[in-house]
Amino acid sequence: MHFSKETLNQSTGLTAKWEEEVRRSLAANPDQKARWSTVSDLEIKRLYTPEDIAQTDFSLGIGVPGEFPFLRGNQTTGYRGRYWTFRMFAGMGSAKDTNARWHMLLKEGNAGLSTAFDFPTLMGYDSDSPKALGECGRCGVAIDTLEDFLALMEGIPMDRVTTSMTINPPATVLWAMYCAAAERKGVPLAKIGGTIQNDMLKEFIAQKTFMCPPEPSVRLISDTVEFGTKHVPNWNTISISGYHIREAGSTAVQELAFTLRDGIEYVEDVIRRKGLDVDEFAPRLSFFFNSHIDFFEEICKMRAARRMWAKIMRDRFGAKNPRSWWLRFHTQTAGCSLTAQQPYNNVVRTALEALAAVLGGTQSLHTNSLDEVLCLPSDHAVEIALRTQQIIAEETGVANTIDPLAGSYFVESLTNEMEAKAWEYIEKIDAMGGMIAAIEKGFPQMEIADAAYRFQQQLEAGEKVMVGVNKYANNGKQEIPRVDIDERVEKEQIARLKDVKRRRDSRAVRRDLDDLKNACKTGKNVMPYCIAAVKDLATEQEICDVYREVFGEYRDPGLF
């Protein structure tokens, strides 16, 4: 940023004097520790001054909201037009159980839905698969067929409420169910809105919910992007996610770099494979970040992400539509920052993380419940988490003005520094031949493993603190009520599935699956075939088994 010569001279002089004072003071009272760093171990200086940001060009580096490079936000009017979407992630037990939680959330002011599926659904197995043993309905809702999906959407106005679905390898199947459910309710595809996570690269890197190898996985994603572009224009067909990368133990810079590099890989594939113009589909790409406990690091990460993506889209891909330059993102507070010990402290952590996300300019937010480290969240815990967002939006005043921390020597400097470090990673991955090649080498996986191990060692050494765990621990227990999923959920779900299989037209299902297999082999877009199959009540696993058969299965290489 431009400072007058006089200001810079004054600053240099005063800073030198201050440094002198610091030295004097330290001689008498040494600092509590030698090194001060973020939770990601990025070293932070004692003081930032105008010199730290004197090189930043105002119009190219900072600018105004709604204009390139979007450091200060995509929306010209900030949060005054509308707050971020209060979008609480929810799912447990049967479709009916989850539907009840959704109605409770909508009644309490939740603005958009977000679906947690159970592990068999996430991995493309039906509830009666031997692989599903013990998992049904535990971490989310169990969905096997369109009938379950219709029960999930019961009473939900699909033309007005947007729905996010955290689903990856079987994203085509669940999205097909959503499309079929909308049609059943008489809502045209052009009217539905929502998001499928559908980001497989971060699965190989971090979350480990995978099915087919990377190459065909990306191909299926490109199919959804193409289908959305042509038929479901208000759908975000990918939510390019850093959240899970961070939860797996990455640093904030790694989260930023790997996420944006994943985004580049998807854009390249759609252009190459589908021949679409970048501006046709780029405006529907969305992102998903973690908001961890290190307050300023998170704010800077989000600001840097917007500026970097704008540059990537404009300069690397030549996108012309300003909407293509927008990095729109959802945020979730950091599950891995929460502690099982003294769980009520988690309310405080989540509030601070949510505040960082808002100051970072998120468009959508999930706040974790205090009990999520122990079990599925209770109604009461979810309500506190939702109220946390409402308090930030409507009581604290932080939404009054846009990007209130802009211009801070520290915030701008840290934003620049994180961006520079993230570009280094992106260049390194480019040199490896892209993200799929990097994943095959184990590069991002091992970078994350190193960071996770380093943090754990710092924790063990007391260099990093988790209150209630390695400091201020006490033996007294804070008891909280726990939600448990009854084992009857599994029995009932399997009975429903059996019943559907008995009633449906099996010949039609067979034909649908053959058509889908053919589409997989010939490179035709799979979406219309998936929609046809789910309408005839093909199960999720039957469709995924086609993918496994045609594309093969990916196995975790077990790197550590």
């Binding site: 043993l133 013990g134 535990r138 480990k208 099982a340 754990q456």
Partner: protein, 132 residues
């Protein structure tokens, strides 16, 4: 004395992909001087038992954060016993509620470590309880 190192297999049964804890622990065991095998995510109890026997390990460390530990941990022990390998010790970790401890101990799990357990405590447990 040329006694071999303690051999440990870290394994993740079921569909859960939360492998941060398992991977950190695997590395920490290796740094502590044990021999470590990590079989990766999404292993069935059958695969885990077979690998443990084939690799002739002294200890299996199971990690699960999805809630399926109730079913999957005891199943691994059952399979080991069926195949005459009941001498392989099995410990567990993850998001495991207190009320599940008794049924897991009863099933034969030797120790349970939950979030926040210091790595050193886990290593100490291994050194004290596992004989080569």
């Amino acid at each position: 004395m040329t006694s071999r190192k303690i051999r440990i297999m870290v394994a993740k049964p079921g569909l859960d992909g939360h492998d941060r804890g398992a991977r950190v622990l695997a590395r920490c065991f290796r740094d502590a001087g044990f021999e470590v095998i990590y079989t990766g995510c999404h292993q069935s109890p059958e695969q885990i038992a077979a690998a443990a026997i084939q690799e002739d390990v002294d200890l299996v460390g199971l990690s699960c954060l999805s809630g399926a530990h109730r079913t999957l941990f005891p199943r691994v022990i059952e399979l080991l016993r069926e195949q005459g390998a009941g001498d392989i010790a099995v410990i567990g970790g993850g998001i495991i509620p207190d009320q599940d401890f008794p049924r897991l101990y009863e099933a034969g799990i030797k120790a349970i470590f939950t979030p926040g357990a210091p790595l050193e405590a886990i290593i100490d447990w291994v050194r004290t309880n596992i004989k080569k």
